[in-house]
Each structure stands twice: as C-alpha cells, then as structure tokens.
C-alpha cells in the first residue's frame, strides 16, 4: 500500500461528509424516519437535473437550490399523501421518491446529448477524484469538496447547537412539543432541508450511497451504545469518521486480496460503517448480543467472585 497526501485528503473529505450526515441522521433515526434519507437522496435527482438544464452549468449554488427544493418537496408530498389519502407513511414515501427519481432519469436522458450529468455519478460519486479539484482558501490550496462538506458540517452543527432543546423534545415527544407551542412542523421541514442540503453537498463529491449509509448506520451504532442524546451525537460522529478512514483503507487493500485492481471508496465506506455497526451489535457493553449471552452464562458481572482474594 502506498499512502500519499492524496489519500489523506480523501479520508478527510470522507470524514467531513460522513460527520455532516451523521448529525441530522441521529434525529431521523430517533423520529423513526430513517428511510427518509434514502427517499430524499433519490428524489433530489430531478432537482439537480432541472437546475442543470436551466443554468447549463454544474455551478454549486443552483444545484444546491434545486436539490434542496426537491428534498423539501419529497417531505411535503409524503406528508400530503399520508394525510389526505390515509396512506401508510412508508408507502407514501416509496411512491414519492420512485416517481421523482423516474422523472429525474427521464430529464437526464432527454438532455443526454448535451449534458454530462450521469445518474451513475449521483449514486457512486467519485471521491477518488475530489483532491484534484482545488480552490484557494486564504492562499492555501484545498480541495473544493473539503470546503463544501466542511461548510455543511459546520452548518448542521450550528443548527443543532442552536435548536438542540427543541429538536430533542420534538423527537422524543412530539405531542408535548406541540402542546408547549414549539413549531414542530417547522422543525420537521428544517430537518428535511438539512438532509437535502447535506445530500447534495455529498452528491457532487462522494456519491449519495455514502449519504444514505451515513445518515442511518452511525446513528444506529450510537443508539446501541448509549441512551443519551448528546453522547449519541458524539458517538455517531466518531463512528462516521472511523468508517471513512476504514473505508478508504479497505478500498486500497481489499481488492488485492481477491486479485482485483481497485474498487470505489464510497462503497467501501458503507461497508466499513456496516462493520462498525456489527461490532457494536455484538459487543455493546449493555446491549450487545455476545455481551448479553456472556452475562447470562456467568451471571451479572457485579456479582462475579473476586479472583484476587481467591
């Protein structure tokens, strides 16, 4: 293996993006809306396509706007179908995002002759190429993807710090939040907008498959390890960063084992996140499958005989 500065940047960008996703992801998981991340990340496609067709460039601002609008529309349509049609929320979500995705595919295919927007690029991204696209920040050349994802991370961090109490209450007890007069509708759409914007920031650089994985898997990992929201946020970010590092290492090493040349870092980051989750699943101190099995066998660890005095 040959580690270069290039690889360091890839890990940094992956970690920034993963952490940016893990933060809103915690609230999605707590609100039983994990699949919303998946839905939104597919449904932003028409927003991106329209923004691209209108402006003709892949300029970030229009793309952000288009995708954020598409993301909020997904949440809105899902809500409408659920409420006015009396439909199960999962089904409503499935209908909305598959339809939007299909519209996006059509738009892209229509414009395929004069557009280099590839749906594959949306899904896998090209994190390996991000360190090539440099911008200058205060005279220092840093990859644009690092800047974008770093900004989104700070934004998400800021919103959560600012509205921590409100988000916490409306996630755990929406009815109480409503009766106390908190704007829970607004918080819902704010969260959806955060997810949409985060998705787009990641789409360009690292691919939406990381987003879906990072919105769900690190928060789920954290949920197995703690019952405290603040700790959950911290652990989720930690697990996300670990997955980014492990994912890139895996992308460099694993193909060699099977005699292949290379693979995508995006997919491997999702796999690494899955492995981190599996560790927590098996060995979580309180709820791990193996820890519990062990405790059942030898009894409560507190009542173990003290081996030193024996």
């Amino acid at each position: 293996m040959n580690w270069t500065g290039f690889d360091t940047w890839i890990v940094v960008i992956g970690a920034l993006c993963a952490a940016a996703c893990a933060l809103p992801g915690c609230f999605l998981v707590l609100r039983k809306m994990s699949m919303m991340g998946d839905a939104i990340s597919h449904a932003v496609l028409p927003g991106l396509a329209i923004a691209f067709l209108v402006t003709g460039t892949r300029a970030s601002v229009a793309m952000f706007l288009g995708a954020a609008v598409a993301g909020v529309l997904t949440a809105l349509f899902t809500q409408w179908i659920t409420r006015f049609g009396n439909v199960d929320r999962g089904a409503a979500m499935g209908i909305v995002f598959t339809t939007l995705f299909a519209i996006g595919l059509l738009l892209i295919r229509q414009a395929a002759d004069h557009v280099d927007l590839d749906p594959g690029c949306v899904l896998y991204g090209a994190i390996e190429l991000t360190p090539l696209d440099l911008v200058s920040l205060g005279g220092l050349p840093i990859p644009r993807a690092a800047l974008v994802n770093g900004t989104v991370l700070l934004l998400n961090l800021g919103i959560i710090a600012l509205l921590y109490k409100e988000l916490k209450l409306s996630s755990f007890d929406p009815d109480l939040a409503d009766t106390l007069g908190y704007p829970s509708q607004f918080l819902h759409y704010l969260l959806m907008t955060m997810v949409a914007v985060t998705t787009v920031a990641a789409f360009e650089s690292v691919g939406s498959i990381i987003v879906i994985a990072m919105l769900i898997v690190p928060p789920a990992t954290a949920l197995l390890l703690t019952h405290d929201l603040l700790k959950m946020l911290l652990i989720a970010v930690g697990a996300a960063v670990l997955s980014a590092l492990g994912g890139h290492l895996g992308a460099l090493v694993v193909p060699g084992w099977f005699g292949f040349e290379s693979t995508t870092t995006s997919g491997m980051i999702a796999l690494a996140a899955g492995l981190v989750f599996t560790l927590a699943w098996l060995f979580s101190p309180k709820e791990g499958v193996l820890t519990r099995r062990f405790r059942e066998k030898v009894g409560d660890p507190g009542s173990l005989p003290d081996t030193n005095t024996a």
Partner: protein, 449 residues
C-alpha cells in the same frame, strides 16, 4: 413521431421486436401488484426498497464466480440466482437486527439497504476490472434495460411471475389472516414466521425478475404504487388484489409500449410515471377512499349533523316556552338559539340559510325563528331519537342522566329506522307514543268507493 398503425401494433403485441418486452413487463406488473398488496397491508412497503438494494452484491459476485468458472458471466439465470441469494441474506440480516436489538424496523431496513448497496457498488467496481470479460452491462441492473431481452429471459420472467401470482392465490386465506391480525393467526396455530418468510420470498422473486426490466430502484415502485392506488378503490381484499394487479399490468403494458415507441424514453422511468399517474387519479377520484368522494361524504354528514342540531335546539326551546302544555310551533327569538350550542353567529347564519333552503324554516319577524310544518315534524323526530338513545344509555349503559346528553349526541345522527325500532322495543316500558290524533274516518278499504 410514430403513426397510429405502429402504436396499435405495439399496444396489441403485434410487433415482433417489442412483443416480449411489453408482455413481460405486463406480467411483472400483475405479479408485483399481487405481492405488493400483502406487503402494503402488512405495513412493510419499504421492505421492497431494502430488498431490491440488497440484491446488488449478489449480481456482482455471481458475475465474478461465473467468469472464474470460465463462463461469460452474463447469463441471466446465474445473475438472478446470485441476486436472490443476497436478497435473502439481506432479509435475514433485517430480521436478526429486529429480533436481537431494540432498533426499529426502519433502522433495520435502512441499514441493510445502505450497507448491502455499498458492498454491491464496491464489488461491481471490482469485477469490472476482471480480465477477459466485459461487465459493462451489469450496471443496467440499477436502472433497468428492457430492450436487451431474449426469449429465454422472457420465459424465465413469465415463469417466476406466474408462480408468484399463483402462490399469492393459493395462500390467500393465510396471508389475509397474517395481514389483518398476526397475533390472532399465531394464537390459532398458524406458522406466522413461515408465512412472513414466504411473503418476503415472493417479494424477492418479483424484485429479482424486475431488476432486468425496470432496474432495482424502480422495481420498488412496482411493488408499492399499484397496491396503494388499489386501496383507494375498495375496502375488501380480493377486489383490492384484482385492482392492484390490473393497475400494475396496465402500467407495465402502457409504459413499456410508450418507451418502445419513443426510443429516448427509458422503459423503467416511463412505467413508474404511468403508475404514479394512475395513483394520483385513484387518490383523488376513487369511490371508496378517494379524496373527493370522501370529502363529499363528510360534508353531507356535516350538513345532516348541523340540521339535526338546529332542529333539536329549536324543539327544546319550544318545549321550555310551552311549559307543561303540549309543544306547539310558534316563533321564538333567535338569541335563544345561540345559547343552546357553541355556535358562532356566523356559523349559525350559515346553518339557518341551509335550513331555509331545505324548507325547514318559514319567514318570520327579523329576530325571530319560525319552524315550517316539515321542520317541526323533523324537529320532533330528531328530539325523539335523541331522547330514546339517552334513555337507553341511562338504562343499559349506566350513564348518569347529567352526562348522557353528550354521549347521545355523538350517536343519534346515524340512528337508522331499524335501530330506532330496536330502541323502542328495548324501552317498551316507557311512554313512547307519538302524539298523532286518531283518524276521524275508517282506514279499512271501503266496499263501495
């Protein structure tokens, strides 16, 4: 632009090139509609989403294995076998997470979806660099590629679709029980776990054959959209299954035909959009649960409730005015009505306007209200029903007389004639006679007219 003859040729399966494609997506739509209905009723629609993503690693690994064994790696049955196996692994992971942690369904689905898909993308990229074989077509499993179908693929797809539909019909009663009351099914000794696994197996089968034609993201729509649309048309399971199969079939047939006629439209996307349009139409207009029929029904009920409230309030005012004498129809002040219920003056004006249109009120002095003949009769009938119900509640439901008014109010509007007769029978020891004077002449048919 294709002309009319071409359009008809494609739609009626006369065109050799498109016949297989159109027919297979139609069959797929029918099978998906049937299987998806049970998934929807079990509130697991997104299971299809997780499952379809989970098939991707299987496709890549099956390709690698087939190439390593010296094959071309592109044989559809082999790829679909791989997809099935990894789909099953995905379902097993989901069930494991659900049963061994306190994480909920949605997290388990999201986990399987993202991690399996990530692994799929990573292994797809790995096998693409395999020497001696081109894996270029594999990505079409993500977006679907209908045009490249040969007749052996078609046979496989129609066989699987037919078997899945047949299984749905064979296990109709068991699935019905599982969807509507799984606790009862388990208590009755039905093997619910086996039935659940069977259902997910059918979902896997439909998903896997859908990969080839519409792709793994859009096959989700096939499983979710037609059943959800069918749910608006009926409250019964068997009609719902038939309608879902019909909507799925129509989407597959129309979508594939449209895409065959205009080559730049990808089939998967067109099929999904056709299904979505059918869904929107169903959601708005379908008679059983559509938005507009339900709205009409609700406003009709609201008008009826308003009318009965008004008339009963009027009758009770007249009763108080009459004291112990029999109630007679005479004008009374409008202000009294306002105190009877929590109407705002505006609401009351609207209700009075409707009542005037329905001939329940007669013109009277400005601040007065006068019931018409039919209004008075209707008012005494509404009041009588209310009192019957109140008496019944006091006697048989042990509700205190001071609280009974509200409880009766919630039910009296939907009392039918049959129910009223039943109440009268229950309460036969009370004095319930309607105050109608005896007829002054004989009611027997006279012998000489």
């Amino acid at each position: 632009m294709p002309d009319l003859r071409e359009i008809l040729e494609v739609l009626l399966l006369q065109n050799y090139n498109t016949r297989l494609v159109v027919l297979s997506t139609t069959l797929l739509g029918i099978a998906a509609g049937l299987v998806g209905s049970f998934l929807l009723l079990r509130k697991r629609s997104l299971m299809g989403d997780a499952l379809s993503h989970a098939t991707l690693p299987g496709v890549a690994i099956a390709f690698a294995v087939m190439v390593a064994l010296g094959g071309s790696g592109k044989s559809l049955p082999g790829l679909l076998l791989g997809a099935t196996l990894s789909g099953i692994a995905g379902v097993a992971t989901m069930l494991l997470i659900r049963h061994t942690t306190r994480l909920r369904d949605d997290v388990a689905m999201g986990f399987v979806l993202s991690v399996f898909f990530g692994v799929g993308v990573a292994s797809l990229r790995m096998v693409q660099s395999m020497p001696g074989a081109s894996a270029a077509g594999l990505e079409s499993f993500i977006y679907g590629k209908t045009a490249s179908m040969v007749s052996s693929d078609f046979l496989l797809i129609s066989l699987v679709a037919g078997l899945s539909s047949l299984a749905c019909l064979l296990f109709l009663k068991e699935f019905l029980l599982l969807c509507f009351d799984d606790g009862f099914a388990a208590a009755q000794g039905w093997p619910t776990l086996f039935l659940d696994v069977l259902l997910l197996g059918l979902v896997t089968a439909v998903t896997v054959i859908g990969l080839q034609s519409v792709g793994l993201i859009l096959v989700i729509a096939f499983l979710i959209t037609p059943p959800t649309a069918a749910r608006f048309w009926t409250q019964r399971l068997i009609p719902m299954l038939l309608i879902a199969a019909l909507i799925g079939g129509i989407s597959g047939w129309l979508g594939a035909s449209l895409s065959a006629l205009t080559p730049q439209l990808p089939a998967g996307a067109v099929i999904v959009i056709v299904a979505a349009l059918l869904f929107v139409l169903s959601m708005i207009f379908a008679p059983a649960r559509g938005v507009i029929p339900r709205w009409i029904h609700q406003s009709r009920l609201r008008r009826k409730v308003d009318r009965q409230h008004l008339l009963r309030a009027a009758y009770e005012i007249l009763e108080v005015q009459a004291g112990s004498a029999p109630v007679v129809n005479e004008p009374f002040p409008l202000a009294l009505l306002l105190t009877k219920r929590s109407w705002t003056p505006r609401q009351l004006r609207r209700i009075l306007k409707t009542a005037r249109r329905e001939d329940h009120l007669e013109p009277a002095a400005p601040d007065k209200i006068l019931l018409s003949e039919s209004g008075f009769g209707e008012a005494s009938r509404a009041t009588r029903n209310h009192r019957l119900w109140e008496t019944y509640l006091i006697q048989y439901a042990d509700i205190a007389p001071s609280h009974v008014d509200r409880d009766a109010d919630m039910v009296e509007h939907i009392l039918g004639a049959k129910l009223v007769r039943q109440l009268e029978a229950y309460l036969s020891d009370h004095d319930l006679a309607l105050p109608v004077p005896p007829s002054p002449h004989s009611l027997e048919p006279s012998a000489n007219p």
